[in-house]
Symmetry: C3
Subunit: 270 residues, 3 copies
């Protein structure tokens, strides 16, 4: 059973605000500014670094590593592999966000190679990304359901069995899959997918929570709950996604226990 409670979420948020853990991001050009701002607003310390000459040193002082190759190219892929290797050796939690897996063979292969070489603590993607990554690990493509989220949860479960990684399938409902346990988070707002990079922000927040909460499935579920709750706070009366993006950062900064108790919508099974 993945234990997601207002008290647990608030305890993690307080730890992030007090310890200000350094989160090392190797992430894409589109979201660097908003990812850094989200981590700062929550209370963490972001750093973006990808040079081969320093990537291992940066991992060595970080409390989590978040890899998101949304605008990948070969030099970045190589640095990401080096960073993942170093983090694995040092037991620094690693979050991998397989942006666009399935869209091109190159992306799918890079992400597949990376998770096999260095099984991460957490994989977070949308349904099609998780299905693309997991298809390759399926002995049969075994699609016994026409419900895409059902297929994605099965894919997440296969990836979890294969690698041991906590797998999060995010969407209208977020699913956090680990062993027989599945937590479901029903927070969020329909306007959120109209803001670029909130999925990338979710992965960065998974890193921040994993830096202070050693129970990884719980850290991921807490991060996704905070994403959804901040999104709901930001969407209230927002005339469009421009305003939502700005207020989302404000909401991470303003977040208090009362918001969580009022808004949290979680469930699960084990």
């Amino acid at each position: 059973m993945i234990n997601v409670t207002p008290d647990g979420i608030m305890a993690s948020v307080r730890k992030i605000r007090e310890m200000s853990p350094l989160i090392h991001n190797i992430t894409n050009y589109v979201v660097m500014n908003t990812t850094a701002n989200a981590l700062l607003a929550l209370g963490a310390s972001p750093v973006m670094a990808h040079a081969k000459e320093e990537v291992r040193d940066m991992v060595s002082i970080a409390r989590a590593l978040v890899i998101n190759l949304g605008t990948l190219s070969q030099p970045w892929v190589e640095s990401a592999f080096m960073a993942a290797e170093e983090a694995t050796a040092r037991n620094v939690p690693v979050v991998i966000d397989p942006v666009g897996a399935g869209a091109t063979p190159y992306r799918t292969k890079v992400f597949r190679d990376m998770i096999l070489a260095f099984p991460p603590t957490v994989i977070r993607g949308n349904a099609s990304e998780i299905m693309a990554l997991s298809m390759e690990s399926a002995t049969t493509k075994g699609v016994d359901s026409t419900d895409p989220s059902h297929q994605a949860i099965e894919g997440a479960s296969r990836l979890n069995k294969e690698l041991g990684s906590v797998v999060c399938v995010s969407g209208e409902i977020d699913y956090v899959v680990h062993g027989a346990d599945v937590a479901t988070i029903r927070n969020g707002h329909p306007m959120m997918p109209r803001v670029t990079g909130l999925g990338c922000t979710a992965s960065a927040l998974c890193g921040a929570f994993a830096a202070v909460q050693p129970d990884a499935p719980r850290a991921v579920a807490e991060a996704m709950a905070v994403m959804g709750i901040a999104g709901e706070m930001a969407a209230e009366d927002a005339p469009g996604p421009g305003t939502l993006q700005v207020r989302f950062i404000d909401a991470l900064h303003r977040l208090e226990y009362s918001h969580i108790t009022k808004l949290l919508k979680v469930g699960g099974k084990s």
Copy 2:
């Protein structure tokens, strides 16, 4: 005659919202976030991808390709050429935004080489960029006017004759030039040039409209009209360009037929 009407604009906007066409952007670091957000707010699906290993695959699933090398370097130039070649072969509409053409010999040459190698569907730039690109194609520099916009329109016309591309000269008044036809769009707000990258956003929107409107001059004029109208909506009571940037994204999301009928200011000759 380039036909720009509220009904036509709204029909294109509705198609973008319904079909959510994938727009492949090879664009600069400064504007990636705002370009992606503008396309999402309008209803399109942006993707940013530049790796040689995937750029052809990405073009093959895209409905338009937008190339904007505002922060160019050699690897990006090579990828952009590959993408332009693939898009041309597949009849995917291509928009080229020659950011900073004329500022350095390298930029001017890269953009000139690119439009000669793969004449795009659309070229959109400001007056000095279009003049820089077209000067090189003029047998005489033939500057028979001291009015810079007149010179730029002549340059646009030369480029159009040479390449067949629809050429848009944007500024206080936007001109869309194709054959003997010139559409003029008088929408927009004086604060818009104080926000970085709205020109780049205009080029991305040209891509989105070209994805749903096969009449390219009309697609470009519609995109520029929507830019200007959204800018006017955003500038109303805005205390500065920071707020304008946020509200511009909101305006693309909120845009309705009534805004267009109320605000549209177009003219033209043929």
Copy 3:
């Protein structure tokens, strides 16, 4: 004595608004958009360019060069050296922002090598960055104080003696160090460090002021005062750092003499 007055600040702001000096930025991916917007809002003309093929040409038309390698990699380092060399040869003011100096040996070495090879007009960093850069130049590590800002000011003074560069240590109080003179600026707001890249923006503004004010220590002190004043204007009633980031840009655009006379808090010694 570094002369910082409301009249002097406003005179520089007016010159920037009238002349719109071209500021060439070789800066990091995280802040490119916000840096460009801050420069535009203030009245300057930003350009971002890093290709070896054009970096010298761009410097040749710029009124200041700002180098900020927050997301450095080897190709960018090489371009930055070329640009610094060209700017030095042409007497174009150079601002170096040593982001993350001290965090990894690679960063510290790159920045140290750069300031030794091409002593810049201005170095602006936080206390730990300035200490990291200056430690390497200290014959003894001479830390005779447990007050980190005291150490940083000593480090700034050592760097200034070694290189002749005006050195700014920014933080809750900003110190501008040149020879025996130290200006202190007590403007700003505690929420500002929760917005990513405002330090980078400060460096870019130092470039804009240095482009119109040939007295470099004064240009830097004026830029830092405007940063702090705009930050205070932006923070008023701001619910969080998302809103602060947007309103900060608005504030640079709105800035008038009355804001400066009302809010300026400077001191100094010589």
